[in-house]
Symmetry: C2
Subunit: 372 residues, 2 copies
């Protein structure tokens, strides 16, 4: 066995995530590890909670960081809120809505899927009709920014409709947090999760999560036991909940949390509105460049995620060879399509630290060269 | 809100984990992030798998790294192997056996708990009797090194007994891997999980895991669906399983895996036998020091985990104030007792990079000063 230390190549990450990790964050993750119950670490967790509340625009006491990737954040929402037999309306306009349906079913719930076209925002009318047809539904779940297609949905409206029908809401904000407006309290989202590796520009592996009081009261008053020990928020709260008395639940990913602390601090220093504006500006720059190459977007302009651009692959162009040339000749990673969109689109991300003018210029011109 | 970058204090980590992270590992985690489907990353994952196979002493094809802490490794074993109604014998001699029981029940299984005294190894006779009384048991589960008490059990014998009764075995090797002999293939362990933050001296947050063919055939031939989407090995295998064709399942914690790659490489360079000998040597040094202070161990000598030393707190000594003085005056973290052992023991870890002569000397003399 001949194995050396791993020396990763220098890439520009312009796929669907991870995005480029800011050097300050890389440096933070390399600081000396301390104990997960060290008083200094507990103080850092308090700050992390405040910074996450800022990013989510919420005062929810139950705002914390799940010790796993976004998929664990998603599953944490479903296992805590869905009891066997519960009916959940899932709006599906891409891969991640499908994953939500899987989660509902694995919790013993009944998923009612409202299908939308892949590449379009969730249609509020479809949700409304599903709620009317299913007055016994308990929860409505939808994805804010559908990473698999590049479509951004109007979460504020969807939540309002769900609440008008007495439903709790679960929102996937993995790709939206920090890149596009998301206002958890103002929009009255009940449960929301995100990921560290998109617009926060942190290394992958963590999932910021927030539950409001309405969601927490469901967790506390369940009739059945939560099927996951690791994700049971009643237990996790012993560690993340109260500042004064932290009890061991699991060993927190200490260095990864250093990184997320730094990532959220960078976002706070920049200011959410400025970060949203930067993502939007660079989206427009990229759009101009992409269109100048004669390429087109699959999502209608008003429904696009600014920082995740789904571009149609022109007829006769070999998907894999273009991506591979971009990677090997230019060090640029862009994303492939998933599921039914595999081979049909490229996904060009401009998230967090990757959302920079020079990356736009670099990517558009490299693509021009490869396609010529 | 006034928040700065987090600057952790320099500690010597001599608790039950995390242990001190080797500088090479800290440096590895700070390398530039690349995509989780980047060909170079896939190549690194292949090496990681080989290195984990070496550490576990197994050729199991299904050897991988779970993207979460040891508790997720544990839950991954149970949700994949336990179906509703399955009877599982759980040997409990500390906190982590109790967590196994919780896992069995949350999977809809029936846990038959064989209780052993906290601070003692699991009694093979007790397992034997439980198996005789429960011929319908499907699985037997036990903890190799019980971190909450410092007791090391004879896994080889326990597995042999379980197999003689037709039971599959799940072994918790969170604290043993890399610190004490563990031979997955030779001992015929069916499913085993560990953690990154103990004798591997990596940052917390990852769980190496290995299933043999017998365990995998159970996963593949289940009658019911695995209740967790994230932990369903049938799905995870799409990403970790075959070298040629990796499919997206979740976004791997890229930088954390750089760190574990380096950690396992360091272990491989040192050699497992040498690492075991080092942990054993430093244990003897610590034992001499501890006994010279008039302190005693709660675990009988033959049953001790070499690198996790449970020491009785002398009558009249204030637990918290001793630990707090060690931390604040000497920068040394030692662990408190858990559950019924809270306030009764200290847990002094000498794991991985923390297992060094100078740490032993430092800890014993600091303790001497604080207790005088």
């Amino acid at each position: 066995m001949k194995i050396d230390s791993f020396d990763p190549p220098m890439r520009i990450l312009m796929g669907p995530g991870p995005s480029d990790v800011h050097p300050r964050i890389l440096e933070a993750m390399a600081r000396p590890t301390i104990g997960h119950l060290d008083p200094e670490f507990i103080r850092m967790m308090e700050e992390l909670k405040q910074l996450a509340q800022y990013a989510f625009q919420t005062r929810n006491e139950m705002t914390m960081i799940v010790s796993g990737p976004g998929s664990v954040g998603m599953e944490t929402c479903f296992v805590n809120l869905v009891e066997p037999g519960d009916k959940v309306i899932v709006c599906q306009n891409g891969v991640f809505g499908g994953r939500m349906k899987e989660n509902v079913e694995r919790c013993g719930g009944v998923a009612v899927v409202v299908e939308d076209e892949w590449g379009r925002a969730v249609d509020p009318g479809g949700l409304e009709r599903a709620l009317e047809a299913n007055p016994d539904a308990k929860i409505a779940a939808f994805v804010h920014a559908e990473t698999s297609t590049g479509a951004l949905s109007d979460v504020e409206t969807l939540v309002r409709i769900a609440h008008a029908h007495g439903c709790l809401t679960i929102v996937d904000a993995v790709t939206s947090l920090g890149g596009a407006p998301l206002k958890v309290d103002e929009w009255e989202i009940d449960a929301v999760y995100s990921g560290s590796q998109k617009c926060l520009s942190c290394a992958p592996g963590l999932s910021p999560l927030s539950f409001n009081e309405r969601a927490m009261s469901i967790v506390r008053n369940r009739k059945t036991r939560i099927q996951s020990w690791f994700m049971d928020l009643n237990l996790v709260l012993g560690y993340w909940g109260s500042h004064e008395k932290r009890a061991y639940h699991h060993t927190a990913p200490v260095n990864a949390l250093y990184g997320l602390h730094e990532a959220l601090l960078i976002l706070w220093e920049e200011g959410l509105e400025n970060a949203w504006a930067r993502h939007s500006d660079n989206h427009h720059r990229l759009r101009n460049g992409i269109e100048s190459l004669g390429l087109s977007f699959i999502v209608p302009e008003r429904e696009r995620i600014p920082h995740l651009n789904a571009v149609s692959i022109p007829e006769g162009v070999d998907d894999a060879s273009v991506r591979s040339r971009l990677l090997n000749e230019f060090g640029i990673e862009i994303g492939a399509g998933l599921g039914p969109l595999a081979g049909k689109i490229w996904r060009i991300g401009l998230m967090g630290y990757s959302s920079r003018t020079r990356n736009v210029v670099c990517c558009v011109n490299a693509l021009k060269e490869v396609l010529s």
